[in-house]
Symmetry: C2
Subunit: 360 residues, 2 copies
């Protein structure tokens, strides 16, 4: 175990210690934990991200349900302790199956064990990556003028994300904190929603021409991808821009990179990049570039209306763009720029937009 893991384990073990102490003192044991609802989300001016407020829920052994929760938590902490000591890791799904042998402490369904891991993240202020718990989700890929060192179970690997990788790029590992940035020639980071557009930028040599690190988001980005963007932004001081389609789901992808999400507000400071800028397709672009478009469907309209009341989008820019989109009743994809030829996006659209925004 390294120092962080030792601290993480100490922090986990404080939970059963506290339960034990309460029982020794003749109390019915309980634990307190931040409430995870949108009524308990606050904007932190300091860090520019959304975090949990001060409301707490109590898990007490006074009720059968609460007692079961404490029991299961004790089992999970025991499992995590073994896992950290033997330097193993497991997926959220494996953890659920492992509990098959825990008799009455067994989980009834995976969402229950997933939530318990979230509880432990909130109580300890560590992340599941520190517990060695992995998601099923895939990390995305990176191509650009940066050399990294990754700590793997088989030793260190130094990889330059242009010279030492194939066209597929460098695959982001689950635990991004095992990566060290060695050296780079990058001026900014561009995070891209779709694989087709990511491939377009690679083929057109956008990373070489503009000294850009190209990160593929693969739709709604995994934690590891958001963590990497955050680290590139804060440690290397690189601006991050997010290039997506022009529809409400894509605006939410941008928001999850820039502001974090309600579901994981306890991780916002760790995952969100508040200075990230949107370079995706804007509703006004559909008019300006006369882009091929699709009609908004009912789900789109509902999502756009919900964005109008979302505090994360409470700016002039977003309000006017979203209202325009509801008037146009249209959405466009980033690949729609191909209407003007395969090089238009890298020769015209992105250079213009990034210059306007002061990134280039």
């Amino acid at each position: 175990m390294n120092e962080i893991e030792r601290e993480c384990l100490r922090s986990l073990l404080k939970i059963p210690e506290s339960i034990y102490e309460q029982m020794k003192n003749g109390k019915i044991p309980e634990i307190q934990i931040a409430t995870r609802t949108k009524h308990n989300i606050e904007f932190s001016e300091d860090s520019g991200v959304w975090v949990y407020g001060s409301r707490k829920s109590v898990r007490s052994a006074k009720s059968v349900k609460g007692a079961f929760q404490l029991l299961k938590m004790a089992y999970v902490i025991g499992f995590l302790k073994e896992q950290l000591k033997t330097n193993k890791s497991s997926t959220l799904r494996e953890l659920y199956y492992i509990s098959e042998n825990w008799d009455i402490a067994k989980f009834n369904e995976q969402p229950e064990s997933d939530r318990l891991i979230e509880d432990l993240e909130i109580i300890t202020s560590f992340q599941r990556e520190h517990f060695h718990i992995r998601p099923e989700e895939d990390g995305a890929t990176v191509v650009g003028p940066i050399k990294i060192r990754e700590e793997t179970r088989r030793g260190y690997r130094e990889i330059h994300c242009q010279d030492d990788v194939g066209e597929g790029g460098y695959q982001i590992p689950v635990n991004v904190d095992k990566i060290e940035f060695l050296e780079h020639d990058a001026k900014f980071v561009i995070a891209i929603e779709t694989g087709g557009m990511r491939d377009r930028l690679i083929e057109n040599g956008f990373d070489e021409k503009f000294d850009a690190i190209i990160v593929h988001l693969k739709g709604q980005p995994a934690r590891s991808t958001r963590r990497l963007l955050k680290r590139l932004n804060t440690e290397l001081n690189l601006p991050v821009v997010v290039f997506t389609d022009g529809d409400p789901w894509s605006y939410r992808i941008f928001a999850s990179v820039a502001y974090g999400s309600i579901k994981s507000a306890h991780l916002s400071e760790y995952l969100a990049t508040p200075s990230a800028q949107f370079v995706g397709i804007r509703p006004s672009d559909i008019v300006k570039y006369n882009l091929p478009s699709d009609k908004l469907n009912e789900e789109d309209i509902k999502a756009l209306n919900s964005i109008l009341s979302d505090p994360r989008f409470d700016t002039e820019f977003w309000k006017s763009e979203v209202k325009l989109q509801l008037e146009l009743m249209k959405k466009s994809e980033q690949q729609a720029l191909a209407k003007y030829g395969l090089d238009y996006v890298t020769d015209v659209y992105l250079p213009e937009r990034l210059s306007e925004m002061g990134v280039l």
Copy 2:
């Protein structure tokens, strides 16, 4: 252009040449193409895969619809010619958007342009990779004792898939034929359905201990992944085993690796690995190992019944396993083996099964 690309272009250009010749001779031009339905699928004893039979459809300019199809085909061939000459490539989605400027030859929806590319594959016997047409789908990843050389637009890259990659592995590029196998110490290839299980094998050092190349299928595998498995099997003479969940969707994943699919029967000889063996969870394993399971839903039952009449599954093994599953009314995931601990799959389950099958 390399020699294959030149041949591919010649083959494409024969189509407009034939149309031109027909018109010059006073004929209404037409082209013939294999019919793509399950009534026109035949098992090829020679190659052990399913290919199209001899039924042909005709696209003739006698009808307005047919004339439009020939016009659009001519435009697409013109675009592909330019693309090959300038060494560019594009996604299926970009091609659809590119047609925005083709006036009445413009596609009405993407499935139409996708089908036209399939038509061209069937007529020319080349693959869309040769036309430089890319899908949106992601390639999967490889970890194992093999060193490859990939031809990228930025020169050649030599990558050892254990020593030169991070824990994420080597990312398979879209065009697997740009890869050359340099040297390897592998005894077999194991293709794995889920990311969680792939990570488990990596963490437990399965590739090192058993000299295995671990390929992540990511659910239903992309063409590039199937092509890679085929090449590892035929060029390096390595057995391929497929490790999946125990449900009908997973059996279909196995079948698409081993036998090819109806939708792309024209590519079976290029993509299918008839000698691939199934090491996924069997219905009889649910009983034998008393695995945690879920109840079959209606879709599962329908899919299992359809497998019973699928000629690709017409063996004693599959018939008895599928019937057993319909009796049990249960399905299990590969990660359910975690019930017996995180190492059970690599220490017990796989070694036993692979020994029985003569792979180890």
